[in-house]
Amino acid sequence: MKHCLLKPLSLDAWDDRYRELVSSGLMEPFYGGPLSRHVTASGDHRLERLRFDSSPAALRLWNFLLTENERLRKARATGDRLVGAMKDLGTVPVMAYALEGLRAFYPDGTWWTPCLMEETDCLLPKAEALGIDASFCPVRAMLAAFQDGGHFPRPDFLVCSAGAVCDDFSAIAQRLEKLGFPVLWWEMPRRRAPEPGEAQVVLPGGMVTARELVDCVREELARVGEALAELAGQAPSDAIWNKAVRAANQVRGLLAELRRTVYHAPVAPVPALEMLIAEMLAIHYCSDREETMAVLTDILDEARRRLSTRIGVVAENAVRVFWVNPVADLRAMNLLEEWGGCLCGSDFMFTHALDPIPEDMPPLEALARTALADPMVGPAADRAARVVREARAAKAEAVVVARIPGASHSATEGRVILEAVRHALGLPGVEVEIAPVCDAMQPTLAGRLQALLETARARRVKKP
């Protein structure tokens, strides 16, 4: 039996759909409303060029994402203290959310603001005026957002991992501190394999590293934990961190189920763009852990419903693509599907925020191991090995590495990953650079992606 193909909606079409849903009794959370209001209220003009999934679950997901700054402001107004976690993508917020009255978010997320606002916010030129030009990755928008204060509220406390982090972020965070935003730096050593005879530790995701590195990170997280607890007016304890780990694992469990359901389905029931957004919720719960659970549950239910009723969002013969790195322009995820691909797996740079945190050991040890599993703190070969493993399991037919303009890691990692993929799986792959607003480079992007999809399709025919 054939699948029924569900078309994505434009922003205008979503408004019509929204009215229909409301008139048929749609119940929405407090941040609900029509999607188009984000264009008028926040200037998120890119939404007008995106295509969205048509489910109420997707509506909730988008509204949740796009109201984060507003929700943070409200939280501040009701007395919550705001923690700006930077760079580690997934560890510090786990701790912060276990403390009453703290809310953590990643100012790094401003990475996407120039895309969403189609650069009308001028954050990139403002960052340049502050000394950080286009030779840096789009995270430079964060610097200008801190300075102008018009995006996210200024955090009460800033904490940033240092060491084996990209040069872009390290340099920008240092500039931020010099502009008068004090930062608590904590060490994230570069992950390495243990030497013969050296004590070793297995990390979530299966990598093995030296015991001494885990000890270092555990000690650093204890220091971060003390600072967070002090901010919250509480005493840090293993009981608190245990609670944090269990709560994080609930979110991660839901996401794992969502990824398994969608990526392993014969025809994807949730579009690539919504999957990218859903995965992002893992890193700091979009500033509301309970609501993240509800949003993910809705999406998962929708995915299951569609699977059982044979509804898909891409053609049955769509090429299964494993995607590496987030895209600076969200539209790229739409384009992948418009051109005949579908997402069957991903490494959006925070796979360590998706893996379950071990619960059978002291919590800071478990968090340290999780933090060290960050794909960006070790050799690109480690990352490539995971991509190979997951691409194989997802029956990927092609791999795309999104190159991030200006990113210090982008110069070499794509080659390492694609070579590993070709060598181990014989799959075609391509590296494509995606700017925050990729319209101008769309012909190039089309050329490269369509050629990749064509190659993957041709391989189907050749197979005996």
């Binding site: 000394g131 240092a162 990209c166 730096w185 001494e212 590195l213 650093e220 210090s408 070499t412």
Partner: protein, 326 residues
């Protein structure tokens, strides 16, 4: 065996103590003369280091990189793995104020020692260790104090020589032209031998390099930390000595760099700063605005690509800058 060190912060004395020959890769005479074959977006210094490391590795020598920037770490992945047991990445902590950072350095120091032993190195007697450490410290002190006795190039070459073979020959080269010229600080990443023409251009334009704070200049001699006493038998004490002498842009926070600079900029009446960075080096490039704000001095930014492709224009820019400072 020769051990090529890609950063001045790897304790070269410790290599010597193990009976091996330390060589500052960045001081190699061949630096800057190689044809590069790496991808766009990689720092030109890191690229050269990789090429040289490959070359020396192929000759049976060892290479040591540091984890201080993404470019070096990822570069090591490309050369280190093929070179197997003769390649080492020294995990230098970026932070320095916590016990964890120090313990990480300490553990790395032990691991480095084991690496040297695997290469066939063998720690000499305590007496010899003390002699090597003391002599290197004296040489560094002597070099530090000669900043105003030599021309900018002469001083840089002496330092390069020290990193290359441990020797300093400052006493025979008193070629500085007293206190004439507008005092400037040259701050930034490594200035290789092939790039020393920049220092000449500053002097020719009426400037005087009062502070060479590049990674291969006076700063690379490290902070003059208190003499650790009889360090030979006390590895902890020695590791502390090596840890605390690091002053670099990648440290978080990098206030040690700024404090070191401030002391010299004020003491030597510096009137302008030349910021030197390699193309694709985010860490130095990002400091331009902070340096301007911190020292309230005019800044001229020069990069390795201009130095390579349009030296004449670079000379003109330097001359114009000196004109402004005069």
């Amino acid at each position: 065996m020769e051990v090529y060190l890609a950063s001045p912060w790897i304790p070269r004395e410790w290599v010597e103590v193990h009976g091996l020959v330390p060589r500052g890769l960045f001081s190699a005479p061949a630096f800057g003369t190689l044809t590069l074959r790496m991808a766009e977006g990689i720092c030109s210094f890191a690229q050269q280091s990789l090429e040289l490391a490959r070359m020396h590795g192929a000759q049976g020598n060892a290479v040591v990189f540091v984890s201080s920037c993404d470019q070096m770490r990822r570069g090591f992945d490309l050369v280190g793995v093929p070179q197997g047991t003769r390649a080492f990445l020294f995990n230098l902590p970026a932070t320095w104020q916590s016990g964890a950072a120090w313990r990480l350095f300490r553990a790395e120091f032990d691991r480095f020692t084991r690496f040297l032993e695997r290469l066939g190195g063998c720690r000499q007697s305590d007496e010899s260790v003390a002699a090597i450490i003391d002599s290197a410290r004296d040489t560094r002190t002597r070099l530090r104090s000669s900043w105003n006795k030599l021309s900018a190039r002469g001083f840089a070459e002496c330092i390069a020589r020290f990193h290359w073979d441990g020797r300093a020959i400052v006493e025979r080269a008193s070629d500085a032209d007293g206190d004439t010229g507008v005092p400037v600080a040259v701050v930034g990443g490594p200035l290789t031998q092939a790039q020393l023409g920049i220092l000449d251009a500053i002097e020719l334009a009426g400037g005087r390099v009062a502070v060479n704070a590049t990674e291969t200049g006076e700063r690379s001699l490290g902070l003059e930390t208190p003499v650790p006493g009889r360090v030979a038998g006390n590895i902890d004490c020695l590791a502390q000595f090596f840890f605390w002498r690091i002053i670099d842009v990648w440290q978080r926070p990098n206030t040690r760099l700024y404090a070191w600079l401030r002391e010299r900029i004020e003491e030597r009446n510096v009137r302008g700063i030349v910021l030197w960075h390699h193309v694709a080096c985010d860490l130095w490039r990002a400091e331009a605005a902070s340096l301007r704000e911190a020292f309230n001095l005019p800044i001229l930014t020069l990069d390795s690509e201009q130095a390579r492709s349009d030296h004449l224009r670079l000379v003109h820019r330097i001359a114009a800058f000196m004109e402004i400072l005069r």
